[in-house]
Amino acid sequence: MTPTGYFLGHLWLIPLFPLATAALMLFFGRRLPNAGVSVLCVGSVALSFVYAAGAVFQLLAADPEHRVAQQILFEWLTPGPMQMTGGHVIPFVADWGFLFDPLSCVMVLVVTGVGFLIHVYSVGYMGHEGGYYRFFGYMNLFMFAMLTLVLANNMLLMFVGWEGVGLCSYLLIGFYFLKKSASDAGKKAFIVNRIGDAGFILGILLTALTLGTIRFTSQGLPDAESASGILQALKAAVDAHALAYGAPVLTGIALLLFVGAAGKSAQIPLYVWLPDAMEGPTPVSALIHAATMVTAGVYMVARMNAVYQLAPFAMDVVAVVGAVTAIFAASIALVQNDIKKVLAYSTISQLGYMFLALGVGAFASGIFHLMTHAFFKALLFLGAGSVIHAMSGEQDLQKMGGLWNKIPITGKTFAVATLAIAGIFPFAGFFSKDEILGQAFDRYFSLWFVGFITAGMTAFYMFRLLFLAFFGYSRADEHVEKHIHESPPAMTVPLIILAGLSLIGGWVGWPGSLGGENRFERFLEPVLTGVVPETGAVKIAHHALAKEYFLMLASLSIAGAGIWLAYQFYRTKRIAPELVAGKWPRLYHLLLHKYYVDEIYDAAIVERTKDLGTLLGRFDANVIDGVGVNGAGWLARFGSTLSMWWDKWIIDGLLNFSAKLMQLFSYPVRLMQTGVFSSYAMLILAGLVILLAYYGHHMQVLLRGVR
């Protein structure tokens, strides 16, 4: 029984609403008043949310096994014959189609829901900025691209959305394009993402070549039996023993796709663009660089879970990269002083958690953390934006403090988000993080331990941020101090709603051990089962309750330890942070300078690329221009000189020669033409006399005849 309904039949409208308003902003935005821009752009996202929510309800009406709706608008790349590696030829097709299953369901709700709240917030935050319509136009364009990405029913359409969000990210990071650092950051994000995207597109090509299709699944199509799909093709290949568990080509696909995911989702070694991306306006950081776009990589890996589950080596790579990124970024976040930089590294770290989950096969947990993270990290960024707003643009934690009572709504919601990210029961982060750690514990103890330490660090740096910004004495300048004010309702209401979500958002995945039903995992299970049931991702935890309680207690206690440490450092000041930093100055500077990764990349890659450019430039100037272009020019000039000489002396010479000859012979004749008519008359007379003398006797005959 395929689910049907009005909203499921109009999936294509979900991305279309923001696209329409984005186009409106492009053509008429300049002439619209700010209020009109707000109504249009926020309204279109709200409409998308309504349609998405409607579609979700209609999907939920179906029984769990059949919760897949797929709608093909039109064939994008029409079927063309494609030569397979096996030698046979199959028709290859890419549609402009939308897939709505539990996985895209979660993503669409997060994107439109959180996106809507951030749009509302932006109305307040960007109200006094120039380029209001431009901002909202880009934001709406981003919504379109992101929704295309998560709703796409094939990899190529997903890639369209993938590139679209990259473009919007670039445009919005560089929103204040007059600021050099902002436009540089935009370029950096764009270029680093290109590296990842190269991997992604190679992965798509390899998938198409191996499986003959790039459509995720044929489920939900009217001709589900005959249509092609990656899931079905994999199943057929495994059944026919053409592809085995751990086949190199599947590992290749999985790793290439992971390169793309690492670029978009800021994992080692391609994470460097995300901290710089904080140059964009804060709502952008919240929407794109925390809640939605950076999770696209996680979504993509989860979407391709069937391939990953057959590629154990790639899974291990994903898990290790995720875990290392998590602890690496968290350690940097420990000492940063820019409020948005701390949150940026925190985002990288949390994304690392998600990849850790994916890598150990806990796809549902990864998506679960993606969702809860979207709530509390969006809230953290929006709260930070509210703080920056209150502090007249100040972002340095060293110049804040004592804001708790001055901006109470921001402070309280920020505290909720901090508790959520620290993983305190019963906030959203607790459930998702605990699930990831539990799954990691079952698979690799070492990776669990890394995640466990990271959890402590997370609690520490988040509470450090909370204490530095909201508690203690104010370290702000006097005139900044005077202007501190709570943000307008357009900003605080989204904060409150997100705070509510950060609190209850995790309850949908309430674990069995605490009397819940693991609803979230069961909801996603049909999509994430993969091809071989034994290696399926979702194993509703069956291990002993005692172990579960122990793990929960462990993560709660390490979080508590992190909070306690932060309290001692920044609240009671029993331990002076300066003293600790002074004790290990090298470590402190290593962390403060972010392990010098930017410098290393500059020296190892950027400068070398420039050197290559210089070298190629010299090659161009000397060999191409010198030998090639100038040589050809010289040759042409030489040839034309020869030709000119031939023309001048031979062709023209012959002509002139004949003319000269004429002149020479005509000279005596010319002398007779004096221009004086009396001499002509003389000549005529002479001629007449000669004629008469010669023909005289004839004349006589003539005359005689007359007579």
């Binding site: 010319r670 033409q673 004096t674 221009g675 009396s678 008359a681 003389m682 007379l685």
Partner: protein
């Protein structure tokens, strides 16, 4: 009646004087006058032969020539006056622009 030879010799004498005048004189007006002499020599010839053969056509022809000579003199003198206004000369050997 005088024999035809007398008329012919007079005509010849007039013609030769005219030709010598056309060829040798520098003044264009004199040249024009000499052309008139040549034309009149022809007229005498025409009139003489007309009388000799009793055919009036020759005399009619002579009348045409007299009309033509008048027209020619008028045009010729007009040209000369126009030329004189330009070049301030009526000497034939100074009219040498129409050459190579």
């Amino acid at each position: 009646m005088l024999p035809i030879e007398h008329y012919l010799f007079l005509s010849l004498a007039l013609f030769i004087i005219g030709v010598i005048g056309v060829v040798t004189r520098r003044n264009v007006i004199v040249v024009l006058m000499s052309i008139e002499l040549i034309l009149n020599a022809v007229n005498i010839n025409l009139a003489a032969f007309s009388r000799l053969y009793g055919d009036v056509a020759g005399q009619v022809f002579a009348l045409f020539i007299i009309a033509d000579a008048a027209a020619e003199a008028a045009v010729g003198l007009g040209i000369i006056i126009a030329f004189f206004r330009n070049r301030e000369t009526v000497l034939a050997d100074e009219m040498d622009l129409l050459k190579w």
